[in-house]
Symmetry: C2
Subunit: 715 residues, 2 copies
């Protein structure tokens, strides 16, 4: 049997499993009528927002698709698959959200019975997204390649070009979804917290707060829909990048090596398909892991149930990797198996580092809490310092993994390989490590979407005034969800860093393919050349400017939200007295408009800047492909730093507040707590808007340069 | 007459002029006994701190000097000149502070008579530092080179190695001085503001505040001594870097070109000496500019008097540049003249951009002020967004200047130059542009040191309870000083960015000199190689980690300061009632200890990391010189971003607060004002500790790699 058959099988099994999970969650009961009323308000707000957001995204995507169809070879197919990719990415976000806004209420209802049932319900609800996204991405990439390659008899290189369009479409739509959702969720959150918690002194998720429904909607459109689209494009981009690198090795074995050693085309396709096969096995590993998540009894930390599932997934991923490498490669299997294990190990290391920096049990969060006793300013100063410090250990781990995976890849190269092909083998080694890291992707995404579901469930319990012991159950799940959300972001950034090299490699390969220059000439970004160096400067600046716009959008929308909540409290004293209902819809509307208006400019920036720069440099007579390469690479480095800083810093601020709320340093309503709330609020747009958006930005830089590279090359 | 004779002449004239300015300021009267008492307390605190700080710096420098003397060729001379450089840098800081702690009281006394007299006194006090530092640096670099080259008959290359040691020593001591001073000043400032202004509601510089003397001392040890050492090392490093590049062109004309075209050694020395000649003319231009600073009448904005001096300096710099280039170069003078003018123009552009972002007249600061009305959290969010945005325009200006200066340099290359030497001509073009930008350096440094002098004068006026109209004069000067401080930092970072290329070039030249490889092979940092790329990752991470440590140090010391001030207010209610004096000395002691303890680790980091990384990469068999080159270059890019963000963001927060204090949005004591004070406090360690220290860090990365490059090369 051809092992590549596992690709469609895994994709379909993954989708079927997502269907099973949906069935599992949906047959659960819906709780009390009060709970249903709130759940339905959240669902309606979220769906209304999604509709408007997608209308905008689709309109912009159509314009860009037409441009690409007219400009980029093979015309018009790249434009078409761009549009399909954008649609598939949007669909992934939609599926995640569709299920999550229906899982929240069922989780709340399950929490009335047992912690285990609530955990399993929310986790499986999250896993629909995880399995669905990864399976769809796998089927999409493989399908597009297959249609062009086998169905329409394009060359391998042209088929990959078309598939690159798919990945670019996915990234493009994902950036809008992540930005829009991120702005929405944090504008509502900041508005609800600052007026409700700080000024009016009412608890989180109190039904008297006019922004509370917007806040709960935000969790869904930001964390579920945004992250779903994000992860879809990540896996698509990384799969295709690895396939492009594989194409170089395909050519090597079918054309470059001495004739007596040459492989048949069908045998050499192993280099192109291995990444997809590895991902397919990852789906099976995650499937088992998801089913394994449960709690033996009420006293156990829900985190232990999730950890058990994660370790099982990792262990299975190692076993499957062993099977895949020994089956597909010859004697070199051990190098690629080693690289895959490095990727899996890196994911575990990053999870530990992230936990150290964002959990209340260790120095960093406690330092922030301590600094809150001297007011908001020292809280922010200390938080910023911690946020910047958090870049250090992940970077060291990434450096070691990159060098090791690269070295292993090089060792796999046969003696006949010249230095250029040794280099490409090395790049391929990092691609395999990335596939190792991403083997657990579906599981990780499940833990991510689990977060907002439990958060929502807690809100529903609070707003429908359920008894204290039920609230305590959802609180425990919610705390656990905060941790998993932070871990997911650390994982996502580390995988982006590891994947960076395979995407750079793909870019150089395309430069070579389009210029006709040798690979040796094309695998080069010499920043000692000033025209190349300024590309790097621009890339770093792009990340800062993008982050600035994303943060500002939240600030502006939150400002409007704060004024609206203040206005409602002032206009109708009955709200605080519980005699009249606040106008939730008005706040939902403010968040929606704020997000839609503010997402467009920052989302277009990472498309316009690299393309504009590349074209200008080309016509100014500079080495445009290298200059754009520097923009891509140094933009990626800067993105890794800033996103790490934002994600971990925001998580640390959040848990610094929670540490005080747990009764330390004066507890709730102490001056230290007020200061910590300011820190948490500052961290919100960093960790939930800018940070995750930078993650998409980094990928988008790769896919946009891959698609447009032909325009940078002087004829 | 040999035009290079102007180098010692300008150095000596500059020193003599600094002596004249000192005499001019010192013969002014000292004001009332109350004023003298306060002035003397500031002086004593500052001098006591300097003594302890310098003891630490000298001890560490001796250890490092011995190591260098033992390891680096030509032994032991590099170690010796390292020590001399560290001493000269420390001396520069000392001179600046010696004069400033004596100018503050005289400025206060002069303010009783007229605004013009106060302006001229404080500006000339600041100019002692400006002229002294630039002259000393010029004499030091030229002197060290001369002693080794002519006095001890070392080769040109060896003499430059020794001079590089001098620059590294200067950077090393400067980093300690800037970090220690920066931590001191902001710990005191934050402590004084948060408890005094926010909690106790007393005005700035109120004598009842126990931290007020420490705060005033801090202005001197941070802004005067720290910045003096910083600018000393900047000019030293940039002069030497340009000379090293000049050496390549020296070799080109004496060895590489066809014999019939070859120049004599003495003629070709023009490439090595031109940078120093350009700096010499800059001293004369600045001298005239300093004398031109005055105010025609009381109503005029003091800023207009300073601007007049600045424009005169710029105009003269252009004229002198014309003279220097036409005298020293042949027909190519016009290219180098053009490059110099680009540098001068860039400095003016950067001043305008910085003003836009940090002055209350424009959108950015007003947005921050507006966001303060919804509390500290939105103030911080908006401020962070503005801070990140401020990187965009300067980077674009720098990119255009770099490409233009490089292109002009290449045009100056003769037809016989191959592509490598064309490249070096281009690098030299950026060096000449840097010299253009630095022509106004002495004047700019004067405006920088002017800031803390006026700040102190205002404090002395306030504490000695002088009449309102005198206070208003120093307030106007102080506001002007805040602007000039922000502008100086923008200027410093932009010049560092422009200078980056000449320093990179110098590094590659040294790689070539030490490996014996050709220049073409050595002028290369190919980040498409993973071992080189990880160097870049490490460089970016180093900047973040360094910033984290610097900010944290302020947070910690401020925390101790806040608790001490709170303790004093609580222990002795007589302080607030004005019946007993607070314990100023205790606060001075806390700031001193906090600064000295916290400066060591971050100051050693940028030495240990590149050297350690280079040695590890060498023995691991990687291309260590290129990997360290990537660390240097991407560390520089990241440093430019982060320092710009910190400096401008901090300035914008500061002036956002001042905008509200001027009566807008509720004015002083409004909730918006309280929020803006939090923002200002957060910005303090960013703009006065971390930001300026990163400026030194970037230079130090260049000098440390220049000195240690020999250790990275496998034998």
């Amino acid at each position: 049997m051809d092992i590549t058959l596992i690709i469609p099988i895994a994709g379909l099994v993954g989708l079927a499993f997502a269907g099973y999970l949906t069935w599992y969650v949906f047959r659960k009961d819906l709780g009390t009528p009060e709970m249903q009323e709130i759940g339905s308000a959240i669902r309606q707000g979220a769906m209304a927002y999604m509709k408007r957001q997608y209308t905008t995204i689709i309109a912009i995507s159509i314009v860009l698709a037409i441009l690409i169809a007219a400009l980029i070879e093979p015309k018009p197919w790249v434009g078409l698959s761009f549009f399909v990719g954008a649609g598939a990415s949007a669909l992934s976000g939609y599926i995640g959200m569709y299920v999550s806004v229906r899982s929240n209420i069922r989780t709340a209802a399950a929490a009335r019975r047992s912690l285990n049932e609530a955990l399993v319900t929310s986790f499986r609800g999250g896993a629909v997204s995880g399995m669905g996204v990864v399976s769809l991405s796998l089927l999409g990439v493989a399908g597009v390649f297959y249609i062009f390659h086998s169905g329409m008899s394009f060359t391998t290189s042209e088929s990959l070009d078309a598939a690159i369009g798919f990945a670019f479409g996915a990234s493009f739509a994902a950036l809008f979804a992540q930005l829009g959702g991120g702005i929405y969720t944090k504008a509502a959150d900041v508005g609800a917290d600052l007026v409700g918690k700080v000024e009016a002194g009412i608890p989180e998720d109190d039904p008297r707060n006019p922004a509370v429904i917007a806040d709960l909607v935000g969790d869904n459109v930001g964390d579920c829909a945004g992250r779903g689209a994000d992860l879809f494009e990540s896996t698509a981009a990384e799969n295709i990048g690895a396939m492009v690198l594989g194409l170089s090795l395909f050519t090597f074995w079918t054309n470059i090596v001495p004739v007596s050693m040459q492989w048949s085309d069908s045998k050499a396709l192993v280099w192109i398909f291995f990444p997809l096969v590895a991902r397919s096995f990852g789906i099976f590993a995650s499937l088992v892991g998801v089913l394994a998540v449960r709690l033996r009894n009420e006293e156990k930390d829900p985190m232990s149930g999730i950890n058990m599932g994660y370790y099982i997934t990792c262990a299975l991923a190692v076993v499957f990797f062993y099977f895949a490498t020994t089956t597909m490669f010859g004697d070199e299997w051990k190098y690629f198996f080693g690289a895959g294990v490095i990727g899996i190990a890196l994911s575990i290391v990053i999870v530990y580092i992230t936990q150290y920096y964002t959990s209340g049990s260790w120095r960093p969060v406690r330092e922030i809490a301590q600094a809150s006793t001297t007011g908001p300013a020292t809280n922010i100063i200390t938080g910023l310092s911690i946020a910047m410090e958090t870049t250090a250990l992940p970077v060291i781990a990434i450096i070691l993994s990159l060098l090791a995976a690269f070295g292993l890849g090089q060792m796999a190269a046969p003696d006949v390989a010249d230095s250029t092909y040794k280099l490409i083998y090395g790049f391929y080694g990092t691609a395999v490590a990335t596939m190792g890291m991403l083997a657990t992707c579906a599981f990780i995404l499940a833990t991510d979407t689990f977060g907002p579901i439990t958060d929502n469930a807690g809100g529903i319990i609070e707003m429908s005034k359920q008894p204290e012991d039920i609230r305590r159950r959802t609180d425990r799940l919610d705390a656990c969800g905060n941790t998993t959300k932070a871990l997911t972001k650390g994982y996502a950034m580390a995988s982006a860093a590891l994947a960076a090299f395979l995407l750079f490699g793909a870019y150089f390969e395309r430069v070579s393919a389009k210029t006709g220059a040798t690979l040796a000439e094309s695998f080069r970004v010499d920043i000692a050349q000033p025209d190349v160096f300024v590309g790097g400067l621009l890339g770093a600046m792009l990340v800062f400017l993008f982050a600035s716009l994303a943060i500002r959008a939240v600030g502006k929308a939150a400002y409007a939200m704060i004024n609206e909540v203040r206005r409602q409290f002032k206009a109708d004293p009955g709200i605080m007295a519980n005699t009249s209902k606040p106008d939730y819809a008005k706040c939902v509307d403010i968040a929606t408009k704020g997000a839609l208006k503010a997402m467009v400019l920052p989302a277009l920036l990472p498309v316009l800047v690299p393309v504009g720069f590349g074209i200008i440099m080309r016509y100014a007579g500079y080495d445009a492909p290298q200059a754009v390469g520097a923009l891509l690479m140094i933009g990626t480095i800067t993105g890794i730093m800033v996103a790490n800083m934002f994600n971990n810093g925001g998580g640390a601020w959040d848990n610094g507040k929670k540490y005080i709320e747990a009764g330390n340093l004066g507890g709730k309503r102490s001056p230290a707590h007020a200061a910590a709330v300011v820190g948490d609020t500052v961290g919100d747009p960093l960790k939930d808007t800018a940070g995750p958006s930078i993650h998409v930005l980094v990928k988008l830089l790769s896919t946009v340069t891959l698609v447009f590279v032909g325009l940078f090359i002087a004829q």
